[in-house]
């Protein structure tokens, strides 16, 4: 049981994941346990064997498949962008001088409207005679009657 726990610690130690105080316990145990020393040695042997493994060559067919699909997708996205651009240039766009003229006309109309609305002689509000709220009679009855 103790060796099981120690070997778990050894496995963590080779992964550089064992805390310092646990390392001390592990080394103390290793000094007295041949089985655990052997486990540490085999774990390191395994690591060395893995490091010597040849890396499989990536097949060209994978490169071709991935890049072909990606380029195709890129082209379809590019095609969509191109369609939007064409729609703008053929249907929605207007020549720059025309757009400027329309904008100028809109500004002129807006300014004129505002200035006309502010002139008192153009828009007059009829004045009602003042009424005496107590007598229901005009506040200044016509003199001389």
């Amino acid at each position: 049981m103790k060796c099981d726990e120690m070997q778990l610690n050894i496995s963590m130690y080779v992964d550089d994941a064992l805390e310092a105080h646990s390392q001390e316990k592990m080394f103390a145990h290793l000094a007295t346990c041949r089985e655990c020393r052997m486990f540490l040695r085999r774990t390191l042997d395994l690591r060395a064997a893995f490091a010597a493994f040849p890396w499989p060559e990536v097949p060209l067919s994978l490169d071709r498949r991935v890049m072909a699909k990606h380029l195709k997708r890129g082209k379809s996205l590019k095609g969509a962008t191109e369609k939007i651009r064409m729609l703008w240039s053929h249907r929605l766009s207007v020549p720059l001088p025309s757009a400027a003229l329309v904008a100028l006309a809109l500004i002129t109309v807006t300014v004129l409207s505002i200035s006309l609305l502010q002139r008192p002689d153009v828009v007059s509000v009829p004045c009602l005679p003042a009424v005496d709220v107590y007598a229901g009679q005009p506040a200044n009855p016509v003199q001389g009657n």
Binding site: S11, R42, P56, L62, G74
Partner: protein
């Protein structure tokens, strides 16, 4: 500007992985930056990311599956998912884990398809169905390779991600969807099983010397 730079890359360029661990490669642009460029439609960034991880992912899948064609399919599907689902990646900084997670899931689907639901002894770390036989392996390296290929997939994958990719326990847990303590335990069991299986071979080798 960067888009133009990446667009000039060719898939026939020299592989950037010059050492065994993919993490040791000098990377001028981070995965996060590349992912951001991919999301903005930069095809060159996709190519760069493909070059960065193709070798590690292919080796992982080939060793997990013991079948180069199936490994090719798994890596292909992984990059197709990157191409179509890049905007849904929750943690751009953990792109490496995301790629290995997708590749692992693709590989596991292949393995499940092969087995068609058959289950072995749950307590054993060894797989009854082997990509490769241990029988007539002469040298230690090939013997280790054979023993690795006979491990059950849940043990084999943690060894591959730790020993070949240098992923931390937390990163492996993120890829496999387990807890870090479960990863730690499986690594230990896999190592002990391999060490025990290979004891005779190592002893023979030592006696020969």
């Amino acid at each position: 500007m960067r888009g133009q730079l990446f667009s000039s890359l060719s898939i026939l360029d020299v592989d950037p992985h010059t050492r065994a661990h993919s993490g040791t490669t000098v990377q001028t642009t981070s995965d996060k930056e590349l992912l951001s460029l991919i999301q903005s439609g930069d095809r060159g960034a996709f190519t760069e990311l493909y070059k960065r991880y193709r070798r590690a992912l292919y080796a992982f899948c080939a060793r997990l599956l013991g079948d180069t064609q199936a490994a090719e399919d798994a890596v292909h599907e992984t990059f197709m998912k990157l191409s179509t689902e890049s905007s849904s990646i929750a943690q751009p900084a953990a792109l490496k884990s995301w790629l290995f997670t997708v590749a692992r899931n693709e590989a596991l689907m292949t393995i499940r398809g092969r087995r068609d639901g058959a289950r072995g002894d749950a307590e054993s770390v060894w797989d009854d169905e082997t990509p490769q036989s241990l029988a007539e392996k002469a040298d230690v390296g090939r013997f280790v390779q054979g023993a690795l290929s006979r491990l059950k997939v849940e043990y084999r994958e943690v060894i591959l991600l730790r020993e070949f990719e240098g992923l931390s326990y937390a990163e492996i847990a993120s890829v496999t969807g387990d807890s870090a303590s479960s990863v730690k335990s499986r690594l230990f069991k896999a190592r002990r099983a391999l060490a025990g299986k290979l004891e005779g071979v190592w002893n023979e080798e030592r006696d020969d010397k």
